[in-house]
């Protein structure tokens, strides 16, 4: 059944997953499954549809979501069972979610990451998948987060959702990131969040319009201090 024919598309959940090697992509297309290590599974793995985001390992598809497939089942299996040709792999006994999928089909249009960023998992919905113009349109946000996002995007700041940055051996996950000429500014609803050196973090209290206006003013000031937003 073509994905666009799903009834009640607003209730159909999708999960964007990373394809970072040709073998896994071949398995998805020809054998109809995709693997997620249990130990590194995201908070949300449940979905009715799996969508595939490609890394530079597949140059002709890199940095965009191009394809999706209906999810048929989730099963647990050790790596040695999934990849029997590698019985001595160091993680051969690790458990994986084997996500069985139906036929892979192309999306109406690719969904690019405009900043060629690293993505692992994005829980979203089918209607967002079919309507998104760029990767950040896929995130499902709770109302205060959504409001914050719209305020920053409306100010022309090109925000990035949940940006993962590795710097100095430390991994950062910035709730909303605005990349600047020099460093960046993290924005979020939590009072404190770790950001890389040279970055600022602005806490956005989510109570009223006046608070949002003050938040935006602070963000703009920090972005200005760092040479303006990176296009």
């Amino acid at each position: 059944m073509p994905l666009v024919d799903y009834r009640e598309t607003e209730n159909i959940r999708a999960l964007v997953v990373l394809v970072n090697n040709a073998r896994d992509w071949d398995i998805a297309r020809t054998q109809g499954w995709y693997r997620i290590p249990v130990s590194r599974a995201p908070r949300q793995i449940g979905a009715d549809v799996l969508a595939f985001y490609f890394s530079r390992a597949l140059p002709e598809l890199a940095w965009a979501v191009h394809y999706a497939a209906p999810v048929l089942g989730y099963y647990l299996a050790p790596r040695r069972e999934l990849l029997p040709e590698e019985p001595d792999h160091p993680r051969a006994d690790d458990l994986y979610h084997r996500v069985e999928i139906g036929p892979v089909e192309p999306l109406p249009h690719p969904i690019p990451s405009l900043r060629l960023r690293r993505i692992t998992f994005i829980p979203t919905t089918l209607d967002r998948l079919l309507a998104a113009e760029e990767i950040n349109d896929l995130w499902v946000r709770e109302p205060p987060e959504d409001k914050l996002w719209r305020v920053l995007k409306g100010a022309g700041l090109h925000p990035e959702e949940r940006l993962e940055i590795q710097e100095g051996g430390v991994e950062y996950s910035v709730p909303i990131a605005i990349l600047c000429a020099r460093g960046g500014v993290g924005v979020g609803l939590v009072e404190r969040a770790a950001v890389p050196d040279g970055w600022a973090y602005v806490h956005a209290p989510s109570n009223d319009a006046e608070a949002w206006a003050r938040t935006l003013a602070r963000v703009l000031a920090e972005v200005e201090r760092r040479g303006g937003p990176r296009p």
């Binding site: 799903y6 009834r7 908070r43 949300q44 009715d48 048929l72 099963y75 979610h97």
Partner: protein, 320 residues
């Protein structure tokens, strides 16, 4: 005291309770289990240790015309066991409450038979998860078709015809009109079935029927000493209802109507709950399934309210 809520999560977007796809899209129990795994993650983050799972986790599993769905529970034995392990690690008490279409005492043998199959399927899921005897399937007596006594007897007969696995997990809840706590207790005396007191249903029967504190003690004592009983608590809606009616000349008019006291409120009235806790002092420990339209949000709010208004009771009953 564990506080729980039923099925739908409102506190975080994108968390589905089960695979809701129609049959032609091949929904599957394993997909529902992935959704449940996500909910369990959320519950752990919120320190919630009681949850009612959707009765539709195994889509069409007993549908007579769809045999392709009948083997899902067996197909997911590994995944069910794994999810059960997660539940045990989190000290999470799970349960089912089949829908109103499950009527074990139906006059129609086909309806009764189908009801038994659905109850059995839910019991099998709990068994496959490795859940203890406190993980139950809650049902009501059903309908009063002829007279109350005959209808009660029919429930007893149908209950005794259920497979042992289903009987072991099944518990009985009072309702607000047909079968009060006295009726369900009569059935308990005949069958040994454990009782779940629903406080709002009990109140709607009137205290002449049985005062709530007495009903609570009665229901709790139907559970073995080594099991923690569970009850249902809710507050009644109090909102004005505006209904469209036709007047004598056939014109549509908006008519104000009073609330129905049997309907659940959005949040739990904390003062009613506090009064209830005061009445429960001295009784054996029990868990409470909150039935409120705001679901997990209502639970989180009530926990905070009890701590705020009566920290002594919050500590005494180990609430949050």
């Amino acid at each position: 005291m564990r506080l729980g809520f039923a099925v739908k999560v409102l506190g975080r977007p994108n968390l589905k309770s089960h695979d809701t796809r129609r049959w032609r899209n091949a929904p599957h129990l394993s997909v529902s289990l992935a959704y449940l795994r996500d909910i369990f993650v959320y519950l752990a983050e919120q320190d919630v240790h009681m949850y009612r799972m959707s009765s539709d986790v195994a889509p069409y599993v007993t549908h007579p015309d769809m045999p392709q769905f009948h083997t899902q529970i067996a197909e997911c034995s590994t995944e069910l066991a794994a999810l059960g392990e997660v539940a045990r690690e989190q000290a999470l008490r799970v349960s089912f409450h089949p829908s109103q279409y499950i009527v074990l005492n139906a006059e129609d043998e086909t309806i009764a038979g189908k009801s038994g199959q659905d109850i059995l399927a839910q019991a099998q899921i709990l068994d496959a998860m490795g859940m203890g005897d406190e993980a139950v399937v809650v049902t009501h007596v059903g309908g009063v078709y002829d007279d109350l006594e005959t209808s009660r007897e029919r429930f007893v007969r149908r209950y005794e015809e259920l497979p042992e696995l289903a009987r072991r997990r099944l518990v009985l809840e009072n309702d607000e009109s047909s079968f009060s706590i006295s009726d369900t207790y009569w059935i308990h005396r005949r069958t040994g079935i454990r009782l779940v007191l629903d406080t709002l249903h009990s109140c709607n029967c009137g205290w002449d029927e049985m005062p709530l504190p007495e009903a609570l003690a009665l229901a709790l004592n139907t559970w073995p000493a080594d099991q923690t009983p569970k009850i249902h608590f809710s507050s009644p809606r109090t909102e004005l209802r505006m209904m469209t009616r036709r007047d004598s000349e056939g014109n549509r008019r908006q008519v104000p109507l009073p609330p129905r006291w049997t309907q659940h409120s959005d949040y739990i009235n904390p003062f009613e709950f506090i009064r209830f806790l005061e009445d429960a002092r001295g009784l054996r420990p029990f868990d409470v399934m909150l039935e409120a339209k705001a679901k997990d949000l209502a639970l989180l709010r009530l926990r905070g309210d009890v701590r705020r208004f009566r920290p002594d009771l919050a500590e005494e009953f180990s609430i949050g």
